[in-house]
Every structure is written in structure tokens, then in C-alpha cells.
């Protein structure tokens, strides 16, 4: 399993994350304490958001049912390596904070994870269109397959898989797009 999430700071609304009702939907009491101590609450808020989203996407790969419960995914802290818990599920999440974006990705005990973050010239395409080309290039190199034989299929829970013809490749992938940034993460199993 793998989950990732990117937040473009220029698209994330400052006003909203100052609004207590908005914060209450997303953060639990412990996380709100972390936020109160932060020197940059705006970035900290969206960092925790990205961590929760990344963990949710990984969780849904194991339990393919969609739901929306951001507050129930609990961040232990706001470091670069932190665990996120949900019920009996727990995953380590690595976060990178850049000038323009926050990127979070679950770690894996499986094989090498490959990630690519892209800056887009215009935010007009759908996520699939943006990431299909670099992702298919990478996967075709990994398996010696033709790019034109690859496709992304999402299951009922919205989890994407790479297929070569009718056959699913042994990869977990996660895709994310926000504003000017998009990223994919791949892990083999």
C-alpha cells in the first residue's frame, strides 16, 4: 500500500484554516495543541492535512471503502517522519515542506518507492492526464513494457492500479494533484 498527498500553498486558503469550524472538522484536540504551538500555523495545518490524506489513501488500499473522516486520522506530531493512526491501522508518513507546497507520503516496508513531483504550467488537465505520461514512462522502463499497453484503472473505492492490457501490474500507486503541483508514488509488491 502507498498513499500520498500534495498541497499547493498558493491554493490553500489562509482564511479557512483560521476558522475554528474548519479546524474542528480536520484536527483532533492533540493536533490543535500542536497547531497552537506552531510558528507557522498555516503550513502546519496543511502539513497535517496532507499527512492525513496520505494515510487515508494507504488505508483505502487495504480496506476499499471510501469515507470522509479527516479528524479520525491522528497525527502523532509534525516532524518529517511521523506516524498517523486510524483505529487499529498505523502508518509512518514522511513529509517534505517546500516554499510552495507540502508533500506527504506513507513509507513502505516493501520494495523501493519511486516518487516524482511535477510543477505544472497550467492547472487545466485532470490528474490522470497530468501524471499518465511520466508514470507510464517509469513503469514501462521498470518492466520493459510498451507505454501504449499501459492504462490506469480505478476501483470502486477510487484506488488507482496500473494495468498492462487486462493484467494488473504488481504495483501500488498513489496520485495527487493540487493547484500547480502533482505527484505520483509507486511501490512494488
Amino acid at each position: 500500500m502507498i498513499g500520498n498527498d500534495i498541497v499547493d500553498f498558493s491554493m490553500a486558503r489562509l482564511s479557512r484554516c483560521k476558522e475554528q469550524r474548519f479546524i474542528d472538522i480536520v484536527l483532533n484536540a492533540h493536533e490543535q495543541c500542536l497547531l497552537a504551538k506552531s510558528t507557522c500555523p498555516f503550513r502546519s495545518f496543511w502539513q497535517m492535512w496532507a499527512m492525513k490524506e496520505a494515510a487515508y489513501k494507504a488505508y483505502v488500499q487495504l480496506h476499499p471503502n471510501r469515507f470522509f473522516k479527516p479528524r479520525s486520522f491522528e497525527c502523532t506530531g509534525m516532524g518529517a517522519h511521523e506516524r498517523v493512526h486510524y483505529k487499529n491501522f498505523s502508518v509512518e508518513v514522511i513529509t517534505e515542506i517546500h516554499e510552495s507546497y507540502a508533500f506527504a507520503q506513507t513509507t513502505s516496508e516493501q520494495r523501493i518507492t519511486r516518487t516524482q513531483i511535477q510543477e505544472l504550467s497550467a492547472n487545466c488537465s485532470t490528474l490522470g492526464q497530468i501524471l499518465r505520461k511520466p508514470l507510464f514512462y517509469e513503469v514501462s522502463e521498470m518492466y520493459g513494457l510498451s507505454k501504449s499497453s499501459l492504462k490506469i484503472v480505478k476501483n470502486k473505492a477510487g484506488v488507482p492500479k496500473v494495468y498492462c492490457g487486462a493484467k494488473a501490474l504488481p504495483l501500488h500507486i498513489s496520485l495527487t494533484h493540487h493547484g500547480r503541483f502533482a505527484a505520483y508514488s509507486i511501490v512494488e509488491y
Partner: protein, 84 residues
């Protein structure tokens, strides 16, 4: 409030956040906020707050859990309105 009025009000609420015009034009009970309208998940929080304000209701964490499509949103809003 009947079904059509409810859908009409929901249309206005979700409009600022949609990223698929075609799906928005065809919005109906079966429309999914994420899969069809391509609304990003941070905007789902905005939609929840906008629904609370527009219908003058308060949604609990468990109400939000299934708030991923028009049908579920309508069901939750209707049940909240009946409680009042």
C-alpha cells in the same frame, strides 16, 4: 423542502468547487463529488460548512463520513432538517 429544491440548493453550494463542468451540467442524485465533479478533498470541508450555513443545520463527524455524493448529502440534510 422537496427533492428538486434540495438538489438546486446543493448545486449552488458545490459550484465554486467543481472541476468538471460537464459533470456539473448533468448533476443529479447519482453524482459523486470526487469521482464526477473532481472536487478536491479540502473543498469537501468547505462544502460541509457551506451546507451547515445554507440549511442552518450542524453536522457531526459521523454525518460527514458519507458526504461524498449528492444522494448521501441529500439524505443527511433531510434527516437533519426533520430533526429540527
Amino acid at each position: 423542502m422537496n427533492k428538486d429544491e434540495l438538489i438546486a440548493k446543493l448545486r449552488t453550494i458545490v459550484e465554486p468547487y467543481i472541476q468538471d463542468e460537464q459533470a456539473f451540467t448533468e448533476l443529479n442524485e447519482d453524482t459523486d463529488f470526487v469521482k464526477d465533479l473532481k472536487i478536491n478533498s479540502a473543498n469537501l470541508v468547505d462544502i460541509i460548512l457551506d451546507i451547515e450555513d445554507a440549511f442552518d443545520i450542524r453536522l457531526e463527524n459521523e454525518d460527514m463520513e458519507q458526504m461524498l455524493d449528492v444522494k448521501s448529502a441529500m439524505k443527511i440534510i433531510s434527516s437533519k432538517l426533520q430533526e429540527e
